[in-house]
Amino acid sequence: MSELLRCENLTKKYANTTALNGINLTLESGKIVGLLGPNGSGKTTLIKLINGLLTPTEGKVLINGKAPGVETKCEVAYLPDNSYLNSWMTVKQIIEYFKDFYADFREDVAYTMLNKLSITPDVKLKTLSKGNKEKVCLILVMSRNAKLYVLDEPIAGVDPAARDYVISTIINNYNPEATVLISTHLISDIEEILDEAIFIQNGDILLQKTVDEIREENGKSVDALFREVFRW
């Protein structure tokens, strides 16, 4: 296992707030990692920095030893927490779009998953329901053979049955040598697939341990520990 993601004294400040406060973080390849924290803890900021959507105020973030740029974007598959696709496109067109830009995109895998959902390629994205739209976004990301998958709140806002679908899609389609970083606050649904958990609050990393370590040391599930740590 090699080091895939490293954050060194990573800080992001806005005018009145500090979103990330000099965090140091290392992720190794081949793991499913949960980035867990309440709303406003800095999860999305960290994710945006990894994807080059923000520039750090101080410190650096390295993916496979490289700063976020064109090369790392070829290796990172990102699922934002909102709908980001051109709604006027059809499913087929967006698949072609991904195929054009990402050399690691697996078209056959995407169509197989779409077939299972009975979504025809010629429908426009804007005609799909919210749930189906989010599933299509997930399919596109998971059809890539990336080194790092970054999923921002993939199960928030979907019904329990759809959450099972999301989780099974993640498990069944990601590259076992890659790392999946899932940001969420709905831990009970995701805990069983996690290898590692990172607790983040107010821009600081409170904890980074494997799930087994957390259970052994604390005698409770990650979800229970989360509720205890982030109790109001």
Binding site: N51, T55, V70
Partner: protein, 269 residues
């Protein structure tokens, strides 16, 4: 990767601009069809002139909509939720800016060409042929009588037009990019930036005019004007060159602002 970016950008334009062009061409053909029934009656004249007015409105709408679409495309593709997709593509921000500017410029040129084709369509036949003959004759006349290279004039005009269109788009891109630095109401902030720019330009122009008016003797303005009046060919070349250079400088400045804002100050929400 840039080729693919071009391909998808052009497709995004085609699906909006192409139907608009077809509508304009349709209005032109309909207008020409109305002329089949030419007579002296009042009703024909009303219908004919209505078709001419509709065509003129169509031309204006074509130019304006192409410009608006170009600006909107830049904003929506980079600074709304679509930006999450655009900025996570393995493409640099420089490539994004260049591709968008180039395709917007091509779309505007395509609109101009379509307007010219529509003008030919609405005058199709005798009138169109005579218009081309008249233009050709004027070109020849201005060369033989005045020594004016009209072909060179056309080339200079096209270069000036291309640079000014590209600069206009880049100006709007810079306004949008600067507007993104605001915490709230970023679109309103972009509009505000544009007005501030416009105000600054007006102030600069006024100061320039005042300086020229007050110091016109020391600056030999009268002699300069006389010289320019007596050398119209040189004056035309000068006007085109100066306009192109000023626009090019503006383009570079606006590009630098846009690139810097996107690279360092991007904050998609």
């Amino acid at each position: 990767m840039v080729k693919k970016l071009f391909k998808h950008e052009i497709y995004a334009y085609l699906r909006t601009i192409l139907p608009m062009h077809m509508i304009l061409l349709g209005i032109a053909i309909l207008g020409r069809f109305i002329q089949l029934f030419e007579n002296d009656s009042v009703s024909y004249r009303i219908v004919f002139w209505s078709s001419v007015v509709a065509f003129i409105i169509g031309v204006v709408v074509c130019i304006v909509l192409t410009l608006v679409f170009g600006i909107r495309r830049f904003y929506s593709n980079l600074f709304t939720s679509e930006g999450y997709l655009s900025f996570t593509l393995p493409v640099t921000s420089t490539q994004h800016i260049w591709v968008k500017n180039t395709v917007a410029l091509l779309a505007q040129l395509a609109s101009i060409i379509m307007i010219l084709i529509s003008c030919c369509a609405i005058t199709f036949g005798d009138v169109c042929v005579e218009v081309f003959k008249a233009i050709g004759y004027l070109f020849k006349l201005s060369y033989t009588e005045i020594g004016y290279h009209t072909t060179l004039f056309v080339i200079e005009f096209i270069i000036t037009l291309v640079v000014s269109i590209a600069t206009t788009y880049m100006l709007f891109y810079a306004c949008i990019a600067l507007g993104q630095r605001a915490k709230k109401n970023r679109v309103a902030a972009a509009v505000g930036v544009f007005f501030i720019y416009y105000l600054i330009m007006q102030v600069i122009a006024t100061i320039f005019i005042i300086i020229v008016a007050v110091f016109h003797e020391q600056l030999y303005i009268d002699e300069l004007i006389t010289y320019l009046e007596n050398h119209p060919i040189f004056t035309n070349h000068l006007v085109f060159s100066v306009t192109t250079i000023i626009n090019a400088i503006g383009f570079v400045i606006f590009y630098a602002i846009t690139k810097s804002s996107i690279k360092n100050k991007l904050n998609l929400e």
